[in-house]
């Protein structure tokens, strides 16, 4: 049973330095203008005062990922709980860009582009016993963002452990942030990116209960197979019928030829 890994972000520890965004961009050698991580802030007037938090926009590594569901070529797939990309398979059809409830994947240079937890072509997950239970990916390193974060807001590890730690962190935060919660425990089969939010999801522009719309599943799991199946069936049925019908038609033409001796030769 493959181990399920995850990344967690503690928005109370995050200092909005954007080192994760820069490390990701340089480490993954992304071209100018492209990025996998966007860090911004939200400030809201509340009860005569102000409330603010940093906001991260990046792949949530959903277990029941909409992008994986719609990808026609399998370029997007799950590996150990993370959503990875095989670029050679990508056709840039763009279905994933429409399907994602968080608007994460985008097309760049005719390929889908998004965070893959640094699991590139050579990346593999290697458990390493150390004090932080650090895990190695991508030639023996942690994901760039996790490695760089100066306030240890970003962590990588086995999902079960990160989830438990996130929950206890939230319990401690509740005294300061009554609405603090872990985002991602159950939605979409459980997210591979767990976020400790300091307030309700809508304060962050996040959907409270993200889902893969049933239309997508119906399209992929019902309509497409049915369409292929019915076409194949029609072709097969017609093929069989042809044998029978051809014989009948030949007989009919012979009958007609006997009845009308003049004119009407066989056709080509």
């Amino acid at each position: 049973m493959a181990v399920r890994y995850a990344i967690s972000i503690d928005l109370d520890r995050c200092i909005g330095c954007q080192a994760c965004a820069v490390a990701c961009q340089t480490g993954n050698e992304l071209p100018a203008g492209d990025s996998f991580i966007t860090v911004s802030d939200t400030v809201q007037s509340r009860g005569g005062g102000l409330w603010g938090s940093f906001v991260h926009h990046r792949c949530f590594h959903c277990d029941a990922a909409a992008c994986v569901t719609v990808c026609p070529t399998g370029a997007l797939a799950k590996q150990n709980g993370l959503t990875v990309i095989e670029p050679e398979k990508c056709t840039a059809c763009g279905y994933c860009t429409d399907a994602c409830p968080f608007d994460v994947p985008h097309i760049r240079d005719n390929r889908v582009s998004k965070c893959t937890a640094c699991l590139g072509a050579r990346g593999r997950i290697v458990p390493v016993p150390d004090a932080r239970a650090g895990l190695l990916l991508r030639d023996g390193q942690e994901p760039w963002c996790v490695e760089t974060c100066p306030s240890q807001a970003l962590r990588f590890g086995e999902r079960e452990r990160l989830l438990a730690e996130a929950k206890s962190r939230v319990a401690a935060l509740r005294s300061r942030y009554p609405n603090a919660a872990v985002y991602g425990e159950t939605p979409l089969g459980g997210l591979g990116l767990l976020m400790i939010l300091l307030d309700r999801p809508d304060a962050y522009g996040l959907p409270a209960k993200p889902v893969v719309p049933s239309t997508l599943t119906v399209w992929q799991d019902v309509v497409q197979p049915a369409a292929s199946g019915l076409s194949a069936l029609a072709a097969a049925a017609m093929g069989l019928m042809f044998i029978v019908a051809r014989r009948q038609h030949a007989r009919e033409k012979a009958e007609i030829a006997e009845e009308t001796p003049v004119g009407g030769q066989d056709h080509e």
Partner: protein, 354 residues
């Protein structure tokens, strides 16, 4: 006032206008222009972003023009470089050796700083410049080594090491440290260099030097009507005024914004994204800069991130982006103890871009 080690008065006024501290750069500007207490003829600016560091940029430019010789040594073609007589372009830290980094404190260590690549352009490392200048100034005896490696090996030999060994240890020698105060507890000494050997709230030393022994609150002066106090600060993305041209960071933040309180902005008919010029109480101008309307700033102040408004054409990305807070800081208040400059005493008005 206790005299310095040589008993002389230094041009920046250390121990005269201020009690302690390192050189107060901004206090050298007037002497460079007036020649008092003594004339200053030349200036070497090494790793100093002069026009973004020292307040009152117009006065600084006057000072530079008054000098006989200005040498700028920098890794970037910053704003002051064009005002110098001679420019030494320096190789970046990735292209050069630097002095060993020796750090004391709780866990002492010595670290190697070595080049990752040969210099990409016609730049030279600082050690090479120092040596070449030294040789031409008749100081050969102080430069008995030819290369940086020779120099570093010589230094490392004092702890029985050399460069190869240091490299094998990933470039760091970590030495056994001890908690900072352990010694003091054992020996009965004190880390506090005060007459009482304690942290003093009432300071005899300050009193003897002619300063108030207790902090003495002076209310801040009001600005002119229609002006806002100019506050400045830092963004986590940029470091001082030297990273605005770095591609990855430029992408994240290419310019600064002037934060205007939302009520004040509504009164002035300003919206986020509007471009304005900032003009201070002495007529110094900088801009154009985008407005950010936010409740996060007081109605009587405006705020901007430091380090933008470069006008050097060599800063190809940063050139002309945002406004320079340093240009608008024509006044400052000298801290009498450290010699530091309090810069948040300038006031600006917002002039809509035509």
């Amino acid at each position: 006032m206790p005299p310095g080690p040589t008993g002389k008065t230094r041009a920046d006024g250390v121990r005269q206008t201020f009690l302690r501290g390192a050189t107060a750069m901004q206090e050298l500007i007037e002497p460079m222009i007036t020649g008092t207490p003594y004339p200053i003829k030349g200036l070497v600016l090494y790793g100093t972003n002069l026009f973004h560091t020292v307040p009152n940029v117009p006065r600084t430019k006057e000072a530079l023009q008054n000098l006989d010789f200005v040498l700028a040594i920098d890794v970037l073609p910053q704003d002051h470089v064009a005002w110098s007589d001679v420019v030494f372009p320096e190789a970046t830290y990735l292209e050069r050796y630097d002095e060993l980094w020796a750090c004391g404190h709780k866990t002492p260590y010595i670290a190697l700083r070595e080049p990752a690549i040969e210099p990409l352009y016609q730049t030279k490392p600082g050690w090479w410049m120092a040596r070449e200048l030294g040789l031409r100034l008749g100081l050969e005896t102080f430069f008995p080594w030819q290369t940086a490696e020779e120099y570093l090996n010589q230094r490392l030999s004092s702890i029985g090491m050399d460069l190869d060994q240091l490299r094998k240890q990933n470039g760091v020698v970590i030495q056994k440290g001890k908690p900072y105060l352990a010694n003091f507890e054992a020996t009965g000494g004190s880390p506090f260099n005060t007459p009482s050997r304690k942290v003093e709230l009432y300071s005899e030393a300050l009193s003897t030097a002619g300063h108030s022994p207790l902090p003495d609150y002076q209310p801040p002066a009001e600005g002119p009507a229609g002006y806002f106090r100019l506050l400045y600060g830092r963004s986590p993305v940029h470091t001082f005024a030297r990273t605005q041209n770095t591609p990855a960071l430029y992408e994240l933040q290419s310019e600064n914004e002037v934060w205007v309180n939302d009520t004040a902005a509504a009164r002035m008919g300003l919206r986020s994204g509007d471009r304005v010029w900032l003009e201070n109480q002495d007529g110094a101008k900088s801009g154009p800069i985008a407005v950010k309307v936010t409740p996060r700033i007081r109605p009587d102040c405006v705020y901007m991130v430091h380090g933008f408004g470069h006008d050097a054409p060599g800063m190809t990305r940063a050139h002309g982006k945002g406004a320079s807070d340093a240009t608008l800081q024509t006044r400052y208040v000298l801290d009498r103890i450290s010699g530091g400059a309090g810069l948040r005493v300038n006031f600006v008005k917002l002039v809509r871009e035509a």
